[in-house]
C-alpha cells in the first residue's frame, strides 16, 4: 500500500535567488535514516528516545586514520586514550584493543583504567590534581607521572624517598606557540625558565627518572602550525637536557587538542571545511621533530593523547520531536527530547541535526529547544530546518566527545548508550538511569521519614 502523502502546512518565504549564503544554495536538508546500516527508527523503537548511539566501525576507522597519518611520518608513535573525553568502559576497551594506552587526569580515572585491565606501565597520569595516595599508587605501578606544578614535584620527591621504586616522570610544559589565549595554567612555563627550574630539580634530586616531556597547547586547535612550534620547543628542550645531563628523553608527549569536525559557535565556516586533518597535524608535529637537533638514530617516541578528534564522529543522538511552536516574533521553534543536560557540548557547538526520514523540501529558520523547563535549554538557536511533526525522529551528529562524561542528571534521567559493533550488532553499553539509580545514593534523616 502506498504511503499517504504527508501534509505540509503552507509557509511563506522570501525568494532569495541569486546570492548564495555561506551554506550555498542548498535548501533541502539531507536526512540520516540509518546509522551503520541500522534504521534510526528501529534504534529508537528498541532503545527508546533519546539514545546515544556509538559506531565502533567509525571509532576504529578514525583511529586507524590518525595512526596512519602519524606512523607514516614518524618512526615511533604511541597513542594514549584520553579518558575524560569518553570513559565508558566499552569505549576505552575499543581504544585499548587498538593499542592505545590510557591517559588519565584523576585518581578516579586512574582506577578506571586499571579496572579496564590496563597495566600501570601503560597509564599516563596527567592533571593538576593527584593526591599523595595517587602518586604512591602510580609510582608503584610504574605509571608515567606528568608533573604539573612545583607542589606536586615536592610531594613526589618526599613520597619517593619512602618508596622502593623510582617514579617515572615527565613535566608538563606550557609555552607561547603563537596562539591566543596561551594556555599557561597547566605545567611549567618554557619561556620564563620555570621548566628548566623543574627539570634541574628533578635531575639533581636523583630520586626519579625523567623519561619524557609533555605539553598540551590548547583545545580545539584550528590550525596545525602551533603544534610545530610546540614540538620544536620540546625537541630543543630534550636536546639541551641531553647536553647538560647526558640523559636521553624517551618520549615527547604532544597532548591532544586536535579539532573534530564540529562547528564552534560563532565560526564563520563549518568545521568540516575548516578544521585541519590528522595528516596536517601529523605533518606539523613530525616535521618539527625530524627537523630538530634530535639524534636521528635515537628519536624519542611521540605520544599523542588526542580524544575529541578520535571519537566525536562516532557518536550520535537519536530522538524524537516533542512539539512545534510559533514564537512571538513569528519564528518557528521545535522542541525535541534532547536537552543541554544530555548534549552538554551544545553549549559551544552548533551541532548538526538532521531529520531521520525524508522530510519536506521547504526549510524554515527554526529554533530548536530541548525539553527542559529552563530558558537556556537551546540546542540550535537558528537553523534552516524542514518541518517535523510530533513524534518524528531526528539525528544529531558528532556527539562522541565529552557528552558522555560531562552530561548532567538534571530534570530528566540520562538515556541509554548503545554501541553498534563492527558486525552491525547493537549492544547497550550504559543502561538508562532510573529513579532508583539516583535515590539509592540519597539518605533521608530519620525525622523526615
Amino acid at each position: 500500500m502506498e504511503e499517504k502523502l504527508k501534509y505540509e502546512r503552507p509557509v511563506i518565504t522570501k525568494i532569495n535567488a541569486g546570492m548564495p549564503d555561506k551554506f550555498g544554495m542548498q535548501a533541502k536538508m539531507p536526512v540520516i535514516t540509518e546509522i551503520d546500516e541500522i534504521p534510526v527508527k528501529k534504534l529508537i523503537k528498541q532503545y527508546g528516545s533519546p539514545s546515544f548511539i556509538i559506531s565502533e566501525k567509525t571509532i576504529r576507522k578514525t583511529f586507524n586514520e590518525a595512526k596512519r597519518a602519524f606512523t607514516s611520518r614518524y618512526p615511533k608513535v604511541q597513542f594514549a586514550w584520553s579518558y575524560k573525553t569518553n570513559y565508558l568502559n566499552a569505549i576505552c576497551k575499543i581504544y585499548h584493543s587498538e593499542g592505545s594506552w590510557a591517559e588519565v587526569v584523576s585518581g578516579f580515572e586512574y582506577d578506571k583504567a586499571v579496572a579496564n585491565g590496563i597495566p600501570g606501565n601503560k597509564i599516563i597520569f596527567n592533571g593538576p590534581d593527584k593526591s599523595k595516595e595517587d602518586l604512591i599508587k602510580a609510582t608503584e605501578n610504574g605509571s608515567y607521572i606528568h608533573i604539573d606544578h612545583f607542589d606536586e614535584l615536592y610531594e613526589l620527591l618526599s613520597v619517593s624517598e619512602k618508596l622502593e621504586k623510582r617514579p617515572k616522570v615527565a613535566i608538563r610544559v606550557n609555552m607561547d606557540t603563537g596562539v591566543y589565549p596561551q594556555w599557561d595554567r597547566f605545567g611549567f612555563n618554557y619561556e620564563n625558565g620555570e621548566a628548566w627550574n623543574a627539570l634541574n630539580r628533578i635531575m639533581m634530586s636523583e630520586k626519579m627518572d625523567l623519561v619524557g616531556l609533555h605539553t598540551h597547547i590548547g583545545t580545539y586547535m584550528m590550525t596545525p602550525a602551533p603544534y610545530a612550534v610546540a614540538a620544536s620547543k620540546l625537541a630543543e628542550l630534550a636536546v639541551r637536557i641531553e647536553r647538560k645531563f647526558n640523559h636521553k628523553i624517551k618520549y615527547i608527549d604532544m597532548g591532544g587538542g586536535f579539532a573534530s569536525k564540529n562547528t564552534l559557535k560563532g565560526a564563520y565556516l563549518p568545521g568540516k571545511d575548516t578544521c585541519p586533518t590528522f595528516d596536517q597535524y601529523a605533518e606539523a608535529i613530525s616535521g618539527a621533530l625530524i627537523n630538530s637537533d634530535l639524534d636521528p638514530n635515537e628519536m624519542p617516541t611521540l605520544f599523542l593523547e588526542t580524544g575529541r578528534a578520535l571519537i566525536d564522529d562516532a557518536g550520535y543522538i537519536v530522538g524524537s520531536v516533542l512539539a512545534n511552536k510559533r514564537l512571538a516574533d513569528g519564528r518557528r521553534s521545535m522542541i525535541i527530547d534532547t536537552g543541554v543536560n544530555t548534549l552538554f557540548t551544545s553549549f559551544w557547538y552548533e551541532h548538526e541535526i538532521y531529520p531521520a526520514k525524508e522530510a519536506g523540501s521547504h526549510s524554515e529558520d527554526t529554533t530548536i529547544y530541548g525539553p527542559l523547563c529552563m530558558n537556556i535549554d537551546i540546542i540550535r538557536s537558528a537553523v534552516k530546518f524542514p518541518l517535523l511533526q510530533k513524534g518524528d525522529s531526528y539525528v544529531i551528529k558528532r556527539v562522541g566527545a565529552y557528552n558522555m562524561t560531562q552530561w548532567m542528571q538534571f530534570i530528566t534521567l540520562r538515556p541509554k548508550i548503545v554501541l553498534i559493533d563492527t558486525k552491525g550488532e547493537t549492544h547497550i553499553i550504559r543502561e538508562s538511569e532510573t529513579n532508583e539509580s539516583l535515590t539509592s545514593h540519597e539518605k533521608i534523616p530519620d525525622y523526615l521519614k
Binding site: 576504529r60 576507522k61 586507524n64 586514520e65 596512519r68 606512523t71 607514516s72 611520518r73 614518524y74 618512526p75 615511533k76 604511541q78 606501565n121 601503560k122 610504574g142 617515572k168 635531575m203 639533581m204 636523583e206 623519561v211 645531563f245 647526558n246 640523559h247 624517551k250 618520549y251 595528516d279 605533518e283 625530524i290 636521528p296 617516541t301
Partner: protein
Amino acid sequence: MVKEHKIKSLLNAILNSYSQIFFSENKFFAVLLFFVTFLDFWAGLYGLLSVLTANIIAFILGYDKITIKKGLYGFNALLVGLGTGIMFVPGFELTVVVIFAALLTLFITVALQGILAKYALPYLSIPFLFGIWAIILATKDFSSLGLSERGIYTYNELYALGGKNLVTLYDWFSNMPVLESVKIYFLSLGAIFFQNNILAGIITAIGLLYYSRIAFSLSVIGFWSAYLFYNLIGADFSALAYTFIGFNYILTSIAVGGYFVIPSERSYLWTVILLPVTVIVTASLGYIFAVWQISIYSLPFNIIVLLFIYVLKLRTEKNEKLTDVFIRQKTPEKSLYLYHTGKEELKNKNYFPINLPFIGSWAVMQAHNGKYTHKDRWKHAWDFIIKDENDKQYKDKGDYCKDYFCYEKPVIAPAAGVIAEITDGIPDNKIGDVNILQNWGNSVVIKHGEYLYSQVSHLKEGSIKVRKGDFVRKGDIIGRVGNSGHSPYPHLHFQMQITPYVGSETLDYPLYNFVIKKNNKTELFTFGKPEENDLVEPAKIDDILSNAFHFIPGKKLQIIKNGKETQQWEVEKDIWNQTFIIDNENNTKIYFYENDSGLFLTNYYGDKESEMFLFFTALYNVRKSFYKNTVTEGIIRPDLFFNKPVMIFQDFFAPFYIFLKSEYKLKYTEKDDDFMPDFIKAESQVSKIIFGKIKETLKFKITIYKSGKTEIKYFDKNSTAQTIAILPLKKHINLAKL
C-alpha cells in the same frame, strides 16, 4: 719472547710449506709429508734446506708475516729443493746450487703473486716450474754436479735407510696382489715429492685422508678418471710411474673439485670432465718439452687449474651449484659446511644496506617482475602504496590525489649517499590518467657507492627538497609521494640501478632490515625482496638488544658461571677487519659480524666443552628487533655438533648430500614492559638432525637485561641446571653524578 715468537713463526712456515702442496695447513699432515721427503734422505735434506732458505729470506726481506707463516712462500722452493736433491749427487756444490735455486724460486713466487693477484688467481706451483727448469737447463753446463742414480735403484736406498727388514717389507708391499693402477696411484702420490716408491704414496695417502676426506676422494676420482681415459685412448699408463707426472691428475682433481670451488656434485662432475683434458695437455706438452729434454712436471696441473678458475670468475651470472671459494678455509669440508651455513652471511656482507624509502607500514602494489610495468630491463622494482585496515588505498571515492593514503607522505633516503640526479616540474596526473611522455615523473636518484644507485619516482611536483650534489643521511626526507609520470594513482616507485640516470635499467638488489606482516605473523628480514601484496615496514630496533649485542673491539666480557665469576672474554679484530671474541685463557674464539639487524656468529674455534661454545650455540643468530614469537632460523656447521666417526662418514658424501644438520632457532618470548623494558626473554635451540630425524635438541632459555647482561640457562649432559651470564665490563660515566 719476541725471538721465541719468531722461531715459532719460522717453524710454522716450514711445516706449512710441506702441507701447502696439498693446499693444507694441517700440522700432522705436514709432519707425515716431512717424513715422506726423507724417504730419500738427501732429497729430504735438500728440500728442507730450500724451504729454510726461502722462508728465512722472506722473513728478512719483510714479506707479509701471515703469508709466510702459511707456508705460501715456501712450498715452491721445497719442490725445487726436492727435485734438485734427488737428481744430483749431494755435496757442497749442490748445497750452493739449492740455496740459489731457493732464492730464485722465492723471487718468482713473489713476483707471480703480484702479477696474478690482479686477476685474483693463485700462483700454484708455477714458481717451482720456473725454478726447476732454470736449474736443470743450467746444470747442463755445471760439470761439477753429478747426476744421481738414486730413485732408480730403490733397493739400495731402502737398505741404506732401514736395513734388510725395510727391504723385505718393501718387497712384500710391492708384490702384494693389488691392482696395477692402485700401485701407480700410490707411486703418483709419492711422485709429488719426487719419491719413486709406494711407501711414500701410502703415507701421503694416509695423511691426505686424515687431512680431508673430500681431498682424498677427489685424488682417487681424479686419478682413475685419467687412468680410464688412458685406457680408452690406448696410451701406456704405467709410464706415469717413472715420470713424476701422474700426480698432475691428483692435484688438478683436488684443486678443481674441492679447493678453489665449493665441493659439490657439479665440482666433482667438472673434475671428471677436466681430467681427460689434462691428459691431452700433458701428452702434447710432453712432446714440446722433450725438445729441451726437460720434464713438464706440474705444468698441466697449473694450466688447467688456472684456466678453470679464471673461466669461472668471468661468468656473468651467479651459479649456486658451482661457486668459487670466497674465503679459503682449512679444509674443503669446512669450506663446504660454511658455504651451506653461511650463504646468508655472504649475502649480508656483500650487500650494502638499502632500507625502505618510507616510514611506517606500506603495501607492495607491484613487485619484481610485476604484471603492469615492472618488466624486462626494468623488472627489479617495487611500487608501494598505503592501505587501510579494509585493504583500501583511498578514502571517500578516490577521485582526487589527496584521497590516497600515500599521497604527500614523506619519502626518505634509503641509505646515506649523494644526490646524483633530479627531475622535477612534472604536475600530478588526474586520477586514472598517465603521463607517458615523462614516464618517470619527478624522481630522485641517489648514489650510495660505485655502481650503486637508488631511484624513487612519481614524486609530487615541487616537493623535492634536496639538490643535485647534496649529501643525504639515511632517513632524510627527500620528497613527497605524488602522482607524476606514468602513475594513474599516487604510489611510490623504488628501484636500484648501476647507472646514475633517471630510468636506468634496474638492478636485482635486496632491501635491508624490514618486517612483513601477514596473518598476524611477523617475519623479519635482514635482506630480502618483498613480494606483491606484502605489508612491509622498517624493522624497529630494540634498545636492549642492540645494546647487549653490540660487540665493538675492546669490549670486555665477564663470564659468570652459576653465580661465580670465571674467565673474561675480549672482543678483538684482525687486520682483515674480521671481528672475533676471544678467550685467551681457554684458547677459544668466536668469529662474528653484526649490523643494525642482528649479531651473527659465524665460526667457532676451540674446545666444545667451553662456556664460549655454549654462548656460540645459544646465541648463534640473534636479531636486534623484538617481535614476540617471531622465529629466526639458522644452520650451524654440523662438524661442531656431531662426533668424529659420523662426521668422517659425512665428509665423504658431503659434496652430494649433507645428512647431518644442526638447525638453530631463536624466538623472543617476553618483554617485561613494551616501552621501558628491563629485560627481554628468548628461547633458542639447536636440533641435531640425522637424515631428517631430530636426534637431540639442545635448549636454552635466555634473558637479556638492560645493563647489557645476557643470561643463558640450560641443562647440561647430566641434566643439571646451569646458568652462564655474560656481563659487559664497561664503565659508564654519568655526568649527572659528577
